[in-house]
Amino acid sequence: MSQLFLQAQPQLNFWNGLNGTTGLWIKILIGLALGVGLIFALMSAPTQTRRPIVAFVTFISGLFYVLYFFFPRPIDRQPGELPLDFVESVSFYIDDAFGVVTDFTAILSGLLLGLGIYSLLHVHVKRIIKAHQNWFFSVVLLVSMFMMTIVGYWDWITRRGEAGASLDDPANWSAINYTKDLMFDGLLQAMDAAMFSIIAFYILSAAYRAFRVRSVEATILLATALIVILSLMGAVEFLWNGMIDGMTGKDPGSVVNNLKLTEISKWLRDTVQGAAIRGIDFGVGIGALAMGLRLWLSLERGTGGGN
């Protein structure tokens, strides 16, 4: 295996280092410097080279997953085994590289967090400085953000070490643990729940407005919605099914049992709704496949591979 691809081997080599060592930090700093240099180099690249560079990087990035999906994967691979032939060498490499690529995506997602924080600061500091309308709320946002960060980290530090284990019991909490609990559970989670609860009101007003007998299709929609709503109500289900049982004398073979609310709603869900959702999901999935193909091969003009 070429030295260049030894990153994929789960052992110490040029590309990684032991946790906490000076060597690892030096490698991280060199990598960071090279990365920043690459960014500046790309920014100063001539405009006509940008599209080919973007297309090339996009293609290589997507190619890994295409190969992972299509290239024959090793059969019954055990730790420590060596490949039998060239095909297995390639498949071992792709297999080993998968974890590394997963780490890449996780690191990129982590970078997005930093980008998000930068964007928030940029937008809201500007609003405060220029005293835009409602700039006070930008102050509230920034203060909340910093407080949550500080309190969260402080609470995390208190939970490390031997004393941290006792903090599973709220009786042992200190002021900072209470503060973090108040901010996280008392404020953040409660506000999330409140916003989600608004949907209940909106569902009522939307249903009141939308479920009208305006046409045949609307009537069918209304009827099925009512049946499904009733089937969610255990009391109604109990009464309705009890009525049917009374008519059939609890005979399991009677055809009238098909009129039970559970049976009707089950039929609606499995036969009508399930089929429709599967059809929509097929269409959306194929659309995503086609879109992905166009992006991967840079056939998409405009946002992705266009000018």
Binding site: V101, F196, L204, Y208, F211, V213, V236, F238, Q273, I277
Partner: protein, 306 residues
């Protein structure tokens, strides 16, 4: 304005006020509601109760307090079964960065209940561990499906002594080499991580089950119908079904497949489902009435216009 037009155009604030009043009624009046558990929930309960003691279950906890009415009830019901049957749990999240903390807090509440009853707590590290949040759900599910040791490699959790150690040294994960070593993979979610998990993990030798919110129910039911899920609990009804079965188990006649499966009668089985199910009835009744009123108004208006 005629009566029909008035009925057709009730101001939103009136509807919202009525909803607040109606939703508050069950807070003051305790109303027991009869219920028949649905087949997907029965299968879920039966599957959980058949997991051998000492096994490990992988839980994707992708919910936060925004869906606490449903997901908190799902999680509590699941953890009660795991705690009582001494089944170990490995918890990870890929849907929301808040989810790991929310899961830890929920287990903390259940442990306080156990402590109040004089039972040993469900201990972190020995009985359950959390491997944290994974930002990219697709990559995480792929990694778990192909090599769980790589997926959770390098992750640490706290021992009872407070030291941080590799999760694979924990009794929960020490015998786990691949995803099929888990006896079950449970996804508790209000987002698309359910689909992402099924697409990537199904067929890798581990049984899958889900607890989803009511909105995700229709999307998840085709997977249950096709046999890709061993069980499915949907929404608040699913929570109530599970709490009912926690109390009385699966009785003869409920399911031809399971026969009789015991519950935990007399234990602390009441949770969000039992508390909020009557409220759901009241709110849905109001919804139906609002629809009827709107249509009556429309009919009267049309009659007057004609």
């Amino acid at each position: 304005m005629s009566l029909g037009e008035k009925l057709m155009s009730i101001p939103k604030w009136v509807l919202y006020l009525i909803l607040i009043v109606v939703a508050s009624v069950p807070l003051f009046i305790k109303i027991p509601v009869p219920n028949t558990p649905l087949e997907p929930a029965i299968d879920l309960y039966g599957t959980l109760m058949n997991i051998p003691e000492g096994s490990t279950v992988l839980i994707a906890s992708d919910w936060t307090k925004s869906t606490r009415g449903e997901s908190n009830g799902h999680f509590d019901a699941l953890m009660k079964i795991l705690m009582r049957k001494k089944i170990k749990a490995c918890i990870y999240s890929s849907g929301d960065p808040q989810a790991p903390q929310v899961a830890r807090d929920a287990i903390g509440v259940l442990n306080m209940e156990r402590k109040a009853k004089g039972l040993p707590p469900y201990q972190r590290w020995n009985d359950w561990i959390t491997v944290g949040y994974f930002p990219n759900a697709e990559a995480c599910a792929n990694a778990i499906a192909n090599n769980v040791r790589v997926a959770f490699g390098g992750k640490t959790d706290y021992t009872p002594e407070g030291t941080s150690r590799d999760v694979f040294q924990s009794p929960v994960l020490k015998d786990i080499r691949k995803v099929s070593d888990f006896k079950l993979m449970m996804v508790i979610t209000a987002s698309k991580t359910s689909n992402i998990t099924i697409e990537r993990v199904y067929g890798k030798g581990v049984d899958l089950a889900m607890m989803v919110t009511g909105v995700m129910g229709p999307e998840s039911l085709p997977y249950y119908s096709s046999g890709q899920l061993k069980g499915l609990a949907v929404g608040l009804k699913g929570v109530y079904d599970l709490e009912q079965m926690l109390e009385s188990g699966i009785t003869p006649g409920m399911s031809a497949k399971w026969g009789t499966v015991p519950g935990f009668p007399g234990d602390s089985n009441i949770g969000n489902g039992t508390r909020y199910y009557p409220t759901l009835h009241f709110c849905l009744t109001l919804l139906i009435l609002a629809v009827i009123v709107g249509n009556v108004g429309m009919a009267l208006s049309r009659k007057k216009a004609a």
